[in-house]
């Protein structure tokens, strides 16, 4: 387990909610921010703020160096070959839409197939639904095993020579399932399809290595990994990005502009139309420094341990159902559950009155809720600042909820 001292870096955790010390178990939605990230953004606005890639003045140079320095930091963080493969976006959603609209429209046609799974977040479903509708391609879903994992046999049975794009979540935001991306990528490539990875829940929690995975695109968001909101990353293999057209046009992304024709900057800037998210990228770089100092492997281990403890302790609460892989080593620090017939909103309100923040609802994964045969669930998601005491508070809160609703019912 990681040291509890990590908590002291997160000012927000040091407060009371509804008369109880805050237990934050909603990092899957967004993580909290350490002082290192808050300070980096403050420092940028106080000493460096200026637009990038233009002008000759000193502040402009400082801002450009910090912004491009952040890109190099991201490259190293995910082990990409070149900074030309790192595009800053608004977040995972924008990154995935960029692939669907740019690569997808140019390469997918009627009769082709796009393959996703039943455990995708809406942001990895709808861009492909839209692409399939526009092009006449077929959207196919890989079915899940009973424990919410993927079997490679079913992956093989679904991907065919007609498949042009396979897009799969690395770590499920509901089930916590960690998918075998490297193996699936190999299967996709055997059929000549490209592999897109939704890494939103992976980047915060495990060591990314895009060269080892050999995936063609990988998307993630800064705000789930201690960084600010509004910044995300699209990684893409250089030879693919070079052939792709930008989807946003305007300032910053152009090389030459004529009256009727224009040309684009080289990679990665041709995909970054408009003033970029400078402070966001700098905040993300500070978050990467913070996470790497602790160690992504250590963070992953910490979360596996918390998931194992949570599953064990939560299962002592009568009437509690936990969804997803039974084996904690197969899941990240995400535990989704329901308590008897009590609606997850009602569970979440009781927990909130006890200072405990969990998510309740469909978690932007309505098709998965259908697969689970429930309309909504509650979710506790853990991060590096959570402790075993947080789990004890959660379990006590669940017992209170159960007692409360068995009283009123």
């Amino acid at each position: 387990m990681l040291s509890k001292e990590i908590r002291s870096y997160f000012p927000i955790l040091n407060q009371e909610i509804n008369g109880h010390p805050l237990v934050y178990l909603d990092s899957g939605a967004t993580s909290q921010k350490p002082v290192q990230v808050i300070e980096a953004i403050k420092k940028y606005y106080e000493f460096e703020n200026s637009n990038v890639h233009r002008g000759v003045h000193t502040l402009g140079n400082r801002a450009t160096e910090s912004y491009e320095g952040a890109r190099e930091k991201v490259r190293k963080f995910m082990n990409a070959k070149s900074t030309q493969e790192i595009i800053f976006t608004r977040g995972t959603t924008t990154s995935l839409n960029t692939v669907a609209q740019s690569y997808g429209r140019a390469n997918v046609k009627e009769g082709d197939e796009i393959v996703i799974t039943h455990m995708e977040h809406h942001s990895n479903i709808i861009p492909w639904q839209q692409l399939a509708k526009e092009t006449g391609a077929t959207l196919k879903y890989i079915d899940l095993e009973a424990d919410g994992t993927l079997s490679l046999e079913k992956v093989r049975a679904t991907i065919t020579d007609k498949t042009k794009i396979v897009s799969i979540v690395y770590v499920s935001n509901v089930l916590g399932t960690m998918n075998p991306i490297k193996e699936i990528t190999q299967i996709a490539h055997e059929h000549g399809a490209i592999m897109v990875v939704d890494g939103a829940q992976a980047a915060p929690h495990l060591k990314l290595d895009v060269q080892n995975l050999d995936c063609d695109f990988l998307a993630f968001s800064g705000h789930k990994m201690c960084g600010p909101t509004g910044i995300g990353v699209l990684y893409g293999k250089q030879h693919l990005l070079e052939k792709m057209e930008p989807i946003e046009f305007g300032g910053e992304m152009i090389d030459f502009v004529g009256l009727y024709e224009s040309t684009w900057k080289e990679l990665p800037w041709k995909f970054e139309g408009g003033t970029p998210i400078i402070a966001g990228a700098i905040g993300l770089a500070a978050a990467i420094d913070f996470l790497e100092e602790i160690g992504l492997d250590e963070i992953e281990k910490h979360e596996h341990e918390l998931a194992a403890i949570a599953m064990e302790k939560m299962s002592t609460v009568n009437g509690l159902t936990i969804y997803g892989p039974v084996d904690p080593s197969k899941r990240a620090g995400i535990v989704t559950f329901n308590l008897d017939d009590v609606h997850p909103h009602d569970v979440a309100t009781v927990l909130d009155m006890n200072g405990i923040a969990v998510r309740a609802g469909h978690h932007c994964a309505q098709p998965l809720m259908k697969w689970l045969q429930c309309t909504a669930t509650a979710r506790a998601s853990f991060y590096l600042y959570n402790t075993e005491e947080d789990i004890d508070r959660l379990v006590a809160g669940l017992r209170t909820a159960k007692e409360y609703f068995s009283d009123v019912f």
Binding site: N18, H345, D346, T349, A360, Q366, T375, Y404, V408
Partner: protein, 147 residues
């Protein structure tokens, strides 16, 4: 444990409506049908209204959701049955004021609905309580436009 605060939200009468919903089901023939959901949480209501001569003769609901949304639907159908459209809309406005924590017209007997006034203190749950009322307003205003 802040059970006193919780008791303000989960009053006995709310739990009674949740456990024993009134007017659960669907009116088959010649009824106004309204389907509405709350996209942020997945709550869903299917409301059917039978309106004759400007009066809500019958109202039934079906759906899925938390105790607040389902009890509110049950209370709403109970409250508007036998009321003129204008009266039903007036109730809806009073209910909306109540949810926003504003002063509301208490010259009308609200009956069970009054029990939901604690929801105003739980901003995250206001949308749960208003779903059924929004569905009713939508159906009734469509009916008004047609006539």
């Amino acid at each position: 444990m802040s059970s006193n605060n919780l008791d303000q939200l989960y009053r006995q009468v709310i739990m009674d409506h949740y456990k024993n919903p009134r007017n659960k089901g669907s009116i088959e023939d010649g009824a106004l049908t309204i389907d509405m959901n709350n996209p942020t949480c997945g709550d869903r209501i299917h409301l059917t209204l039978q309106v004759e001569d400007g009066v809500v003769q019958n109202a039934k609901f079906d759906g899925e959701g938390c105790s607040i949304s389902m009890s509110s639907a049950s209370m709403m159908t109970q409250a508007i049955k036998g009321k003129k459209i204008d009266e039903a809309l007036q109730l809806s406005h009073i209910f909306s004021d109540m949810m926003l924590g504003k002063e509301y017209d208490d010259s009308i007997d609200l009956g069970d609905i009054e029990a939901l006034n604690g929801v105003a203190k739980f901003p995250a749950r206001i949308k749960c309580a208003t779903l059924a009322w929004k569905a009713m307003e939508k159906g009734v205003s469509e009916e008004q436009q047609q006539n």
